[in-house]
Subunit: 214 residues, 2 copies
Amino acid sequence: MAKDAKISNVVIKRLPRYRRYLQELQKKGVEKISSNEFSSLIGYTASQIRQDLNNFGRFGQQGYGYNVDELYYEISSILGLNQKHKMIIVGAGNLGQAICNYTEYYKSGFPVEAIFEINPKLIGMTISNIMVLDYEEMVEYVEKNDIDIGIICTTMDAAQEVADRLSFAGVKGIWNFAPVDIEVPGKVALENVHLSDSLHSLAYHMSKKKKENK
Amino acid sequence: MAKDAKISNVVIKRLPRYRRYLQELQKKGVEKISSNEFSSLIGYTASQIRQDLNNFGRFGQQGYGYNVDELYYEISSILGLNQKHKMIIVGAGNLGQAICNYTEYYKSGFPVEAIFEINPKLIGMTISNIMVLDYEEMVEYVEKNDIDIGIICTTMDAAQEVADRLSFAGVKGIWNFAPVDIEVPGKVALENVHLSDSLHSLAYHMSKKKKENK
DNA sequence: TAGATTGTTAATCGATTAACAATC
DNA sequence: TAGATTGTTAATCGATTAACAATC
């Protein structure tokens, strides 16, 4: 409630990483960590760590550092991970099936409730205990079951139509795996995972290193 | 060969996006595009587009703009997409299987040659015509078959050991899907896809929008 | 209290945008 | 040639790093 400025997206993108390292520290039973120790672990400067955290509050203590458990809790809370996010997947192809299982694995608060498909051959199947339902029923399902997140695992041609329908149905966020940039209303959060873009930037770095070694 | 300064990674990350939009333009039969027209399409400023491209060469023509075909070719070339990149997947779990099929779909120069597994039950199977081989044979296979890219689809515990072995075997790049930060030698390119981080930043934006609407 | 380490302000660095001369 | 639009330099903006006073 106190601090409420617009926080840069580069900061947000670092938060899950902080959280992952704190989780590791917790596992190891580490109780406290200074920004300097954290720096040599995570690879950001101590200054940046302190700056980042101070966007959200004063979590440390002078002369002591940060309490690992507390900071982990705070970051989880900032990210909104202390509440459940019900998800559905659209598209029961290979990627949709994989995400279904993958997020099962990471089901810490992100349950997959159903998968929607347009292909009649797949409708009625179950994938790791998740029902594959008819795409036509999606809007009704989202409304009735308070679905928070729609995961788009369709072809690029279908992606925008699916996004429109998900937004209309009232999801709060869309996780897009289709290799295309989609448009969503301002009230809907959007996160893209462009796997081919990622692979292509890997290819760039590979060919650059190749040249360097010549 | 002319321009050879160190190019910022934020620029590299935009290149695959430029390429995607140029591909779309090609499909539509568009012949030329000005930085201004491109700007309103892709959402970057015209200035940024020109700056970005001029890191690599002079691809435009004053008074005309950019030739779509030519620019598409140039960017593909910069990314190293005009050569084949042989890949293997490590880990035949759900994610490995999905990536296998997915990159099949995007097989434009990135063929998956084999999948490696430690679980004897899976060894010997085929996944969309790709053999699942014994992880113990991986190093030899990479050397003999000139594999360029190793895709890590293992658990986080195994990821670093796999990365070490891939690097030793001589891959040029590693595409890491395990939810952990791995270390690689300087000569190996590394690209991470941290799906859980992506999901968590989506959760942040969702809870932020929720607060705004209150 | 003295030592350590944060929170925060100030300085630097890098990336984006604006402006315009060069040129097709 | 005149108009359009690039390539590139200069100005601005934002993000990172450095420094240090506040404080546990």
